[in-house]
């Protein structure tokens, strides 16, 4: 009864680790689909090294009876496909972890760790199955057997994934069957999952952060995507490249990020709904272009997917340290909106909102994600995805049209060249209402006021922070973006009746009601994926009240539920220990 302990657990957490190039992602895709087909909820996240081959990467797959949206430290079942398992995985192995690996390949590694080590002769079986590349399918089969699931879903997956390549399909199916047989014998007919309540509800869509942002952009009518490839933001470029015709969008990989943003501003002037996708280093190069969008009053959406800096930092790792950059990028003063979705559903809706805001207020909007969020996924009900009302297309310009006509809300009628009787101008200098450069101190002040007035409307429409917990609270936890679901689950573990959570998915402009929550809180803790507490600092600067304590993570990995709970618990119970 090797897995009897798991039957009592609320969920099962499996981790697969191995060298890049072994096809772990294929296994991840397949298992997620099979698990959802079986009626369970799945959550997955990935961490990987900045290399194409070799190294050691891992994927976590959490299987549960109820919806789960956050990663765990705990590993119930570890499948090791390659030697040299890294410390971040080794330190998560407990006395309850069952480890599956090839004894010969691992050369004794991991054998003294965990509940027990089960030898699966991957190299030998893969050779028999047709080569090393089949070791992932064998491992997938073993895991399916250990979990007590069948292989029908896997067979179907291979048929679809490798359609037209009968030989490859056959070999993968056979490899998976070999592994499955082994898995069944390991679990002694007592797989970890059977007997659990299967849900089989409407949550049949598996969505990751990158696709959620992309689909949201497409739903908002994004027609122009330019980017220079940069981890972890490239997924959005690939999505649009693949779906360019369906989206009706111009998609171009450009020579540098400077060109990306300048193309976006040019396209926007001509009436496209543009988006650039980049990470911190690339966005730093876009600073002048962002400022251009500000003064030209051209709608532009920036998807800024964060990774650790400064400079090149850690290319494939995660961090929430570019809030300050997003807030202050670009010289001069101009209005901008900054969003940071915490869930896949909100990434879909919020990316649309970013477009709506950018288009209505004719100014840049930034969507902040990070490597963790881009690669994280879970299953959801597609019916829960919200479609916002599409903004109107540009109207024809009248004779005597003035692109920068002053108005009470700061927004001028948006016209495009070649549509109507007007002449449409745009200028990076301070300009008159037509758009011509004109040096006049009164004009300057009037135009600057006009642009900044748009912030009033944007603030009135700002998303309020999400509030969870008791109305009367002693302690308030704050967080933003991708850490939101993790902190929520951590707080539910802590079961504190005196603590509430205030979670931000819009960082600029901030909702006016925020200050009241902060003022009511005798004690505030900020949980952030950076080393200086940028959200706390922002709130203090706007509302005069920031965090009393911080729980920060900046190793390059995302918080786990357990780590957030442990460190928050210590701070909330007055035991201090911020970093």
């Amino acid at each position: 009864m090797r897995f009897s302990a798991l039957k009592k657990a609320k969920d099962v957490c499996c981790v697969l680790c191995g060298a890049a190039g072994l096809g772990i992602q294929t296994v991840e895709d397949m298992l997620a689909r099979i698990i959802v087909d079986e009626g369970f909820f799945v959550f997955g996240s990935r961490e990987y090294m900045s290399r194409v081959r070799g190294g050691n990467n891992s994927t976590e797959i959490r299987i549960s009876d109820v919806a789960v949206h956050a990663p765990l430290d705990r590993i119930d079942i570890l499948v090791a496909l390659s030697p040299n398992v890294r410390q971040n995985i080794r330190e998560r192995i407990t006395g309850d972890t069952v480890i599956l690996g090839d004894r010969e390949l691992l050369n004794g590694e991991l054998e003294d760790l965990g509940a027990f080590f089960i030898d699966i002769p991957l190299s030998k079986l893969a050779k028999e199955a047709g080569g090393k590349i089949y070791s992932n399918s064998i491992a997938a089969g073993v895991l399916l057997g250990v979990l007590g699931l069948g292989t029908e879903g896997a067979d179907e997956f291979y048929r679809r994934r490798f359609a037209g390549k009968d030989d490859v399909i056959g070999k993968n199916i056979a490899a998976c069957a070999t592994g499955h047989k082994l898995g069944l014998s390991i679990s002694e007919g007592e797989g970890a999952l059977p007997g659990r309540r299967a849900n089989a509800g409407a949550e049949r869509m598996i969505l990751n952060g990158g696709d959620a942002v992309s689909l949201g952009a497409m739903a908002a009518g994004c027609t122009f995507v330019t980017a220079y490839p940069m981890s972890p933001a490239t997924g959005v470029l690939s999505f649009f490249a693949k779906n360019a015709e369906k989206a009706g969008a111009v998609v171009e990989q450009v020579e540098d990020e400077i060109s990306a943003i300048n193309m976006a501003v040019g396209a926007s002037y001509a009436g496209a709904r543009p988006m650039v996708t980049t990470s911190g280093g690339g966005f730093a190069l876009m600073g002048e272009g962002l400022s251009l969008a500000g003064v030209m009053e051209t709608p532009v959406v920036v998807h800024l997917s964060q990774r650790p800096g400064p400079a090149t930092g850690m290319a494939t790792r995660t961090e929430q340290a570019d809030l300050d950059l997003a807030l202050f990028s670009g010289h001069g003063e101009f209005p901008r909106a900054i969003f940071a979705p915490g869930a896949m559903e909100s990434a879909f809706a919020i990316t649309q909102r970013a477009f709506l805001t950018a288009l209505k207020y004719q100014t840049p909007a930034i969507v902040l994600t990070d490597q963790y969020f881009m690669n994280a996924f879970y299953n959801l009900d597609p019916g829960s995805l919200e479609y916002l009302k599409e903004p109107p297309l540009p109207a024809e310009t009248p004779e005597g049209y003035r692109r920068y006509e002053d108005s009470p809300d700061g927004c001028s009628p948006f016209g495009v060249p070649g549509w109507g009787k007007g002449i449409v101008g745009a200028d990076s200098h301070e300009h008159d209402e037509i758009g011509h450069v004109y040096e006049d101190f009164e004009l300057r002040k009037r135009m600057q006021d006009k642009r900044l007035r748009k912030l009033d409307g944007m603030a009135a429409e700002a998303l309020p922070p999400l509030f969870f917990g008791p109305e009367s609270f002693e302690k308030l936890v704050i967080c933003w973006g991708s850490t939101i679901p993790i902190v929520r689950e951590a707080l539910s573990l802590l079961e504190r009746s005196d603590t509430a959570l205030l979670a931000f998915e819009q960082l600029w402009p901030l909702h006016g009601g925020t200050g009241e929550f902060l003022a009511r809180a005798p004690f505030i803790v900020s949980v952030e994926g950076n080393s200086t507490g940028q959200l706390s600092r922002l709130l203090r600067s706007v509302f005069g009240r920031g965090a009393d304590e911080t729980v920060l993570k900046y190793s390059g990995l995302q918080f786990s539920v357990e780590e957030a709970a442990e460190r928050l618990g210590a701070v909330l119970s007055g035991k201090g220990g911020s970093r």
Partner: protein, 287 residues
Amino acid sequence: MDSGIFDLAGIDISWCPGCGDFKILDSIKNALRELELTPHGVVMVSGIGQAAKTPHYMKSHFFNGLHGRALSNATAIKAANRSLNVIAVGGDGDMYGEGGNHFTHTIRRNPDITNLVFNNMVYGLTKGQASPTSPVGFRTSVQVDGVQSRPFNPLAASLVNGATFVARAFAGDGEQTKEIIKRAILHKGYSLVDIFQPCVSFNSVNTYKWFQENTYTVEGHDEEDLRKALELALVEEGPFPLGVLYRREGVPVFEDTLAAFRNDDRPLFRREAPRKAVKELIDSMCC
């Protein structure tokens, strides 16, 4: 047709008296008029510099962006609305210095835009420093011992990177410049017209007289012969050839190769959000 259709009334032009830019502005307006284009069908795109002020001095749609970035802006404007005639104007510092990377890659991309470069071999707006095309030995307040770097050769650089229309004009010859600009606009693809232009304030070497004495009009050569064009472009000491050095027809243009226009001719501003396609994609992501 109204001879002043591209004229803009009541403007205060900030170029120095005698500047070659005036003559080029006339050549542009005359070329557009003779091609029977209208201000509503033309977008003048520029960056920063004296030449980059041109869009403010004529009647047409205009986009005056950042230093060096006009070609990126122009490529995108053309891709967003293929019915527009897009002309990117700027000086040698703007296009070849600050915008050098975009210059190279715009040539490779081959959008159907016209690139006019007012090449006076000196920085005017910032008052007389060397430009990428200043000759070796040219002394300025910054290059106090004279320019050491070799001058950038825009014609040769564009030819080797696959430009489909490469020409050189001299601002002093308005008629010839106008004719070359007309051909550049009519060319389907990226066209470069490098226009020699005297700077009366900061360049006492390359004057009207100097350009007259050091240029000649190339005639009767095979415009589709790349090697011949390169030979003409590689002249270092002068005399420098004026005219269309090279053209290549039939090379696919950037915007026409985009999937966005495969089954949809509408400019981007007329496209509603493809909600049906979004829902289909979402369905395909369901188990």
